[in-house]
Symmetry: C2
Subunit: 119 residues, 2 copies
DNA sequence: GGTTGACCTGGAGTCGGCTCCAGGTGCGAT
DNA sequence: ATCGCACCTGGAGCCGACTCCAGGTCAACC
């Protein structure tokens, strides 16, 4: 099973090294394994989890809620129903965001058309 | 032509009074007219501009860029081409946001389906 | 004429989410 | 052996966007 250096994880996930350390510090990441010199070595699983984090973050989930999700994951399989609930609620908010953006975009388009007519 | 009290503008725009004052302070709003007692009285035009602000803000435009836009508006009609450019660039970013959210949403859906299958 | 309530000001504080820094370690290449 | 480089730590600092506060004004209603 392969491990990843910090640089590789930065490359792969798009998070900065500082952000990775920050996420570990606040407990969004489990304590990451270390080599003999004390340097981080991320597992495949860590990288997968970071993929989830990225998705949730990029859809606007606040860190506090990602921490709740992380906590559920840590508690094991009996929290899966709760995780579904959390994700579904988040999904609803994502849906709202999309609807909202689409709606606002119409306003922007109208504004642009108006300006075009005026010019 | 009707004027609006602070409370009415709060009601109408959804911004808090503090936010309205903040926007005026930083110059995103023109200095708002006052009655004899020094209290704000917003014009129809102010409220319309606040509608634009809300749209831009809710689609993620940073205040610094809204200030640029406000500045163009103040400079008069010869900046309309620039305003179109600014709005079109913003529109592109809104489009990207929508595409991104839609993409990420698939991931969330997959995750939910996975959990459903596991339960 | 006293109280209430909406408003005013300047300035400080908060919050989320990083981002940066100084000073230090260990390893591989020249 | 010494250099450069990737990495380490704790903690301070930053940025955007508000949000809150103390202390004050004014008009209106009881």
């Amino acid at each position: 099973m392969s491990v990843y250096t910090p640089a590789e994880v930065v490359e792969e996930t798009g998070f900065t090294l500082d952000t990775l350390r920050y996420y570990e510090k606040i407990g969004l990441l489990e304590p990451v394994g270390r080599n003999a010199a004390g340097q981080r070595r991320f597992t495949e699983e860590d990288v997968g989890w970071l993929g989830t984090i990225r998705c949730l973050r990029d859809t606007g989930m606040p860190i506090a809620e990602m921490l709740r999700f992380a906590d559920l994951v840590r508690q094991g399989d009996h929290t899966i129903a709760d995780r579904i609930k959390l994700l579904e609620e988040h999904d609803g908010r994502v849906q709202d965001q999309i609807a909202n953006l689409t709606e606002r975009q119409r306003y922007i388009h109208d504004k642009i058309s108006y300006y075009r007519r005026v010019v």
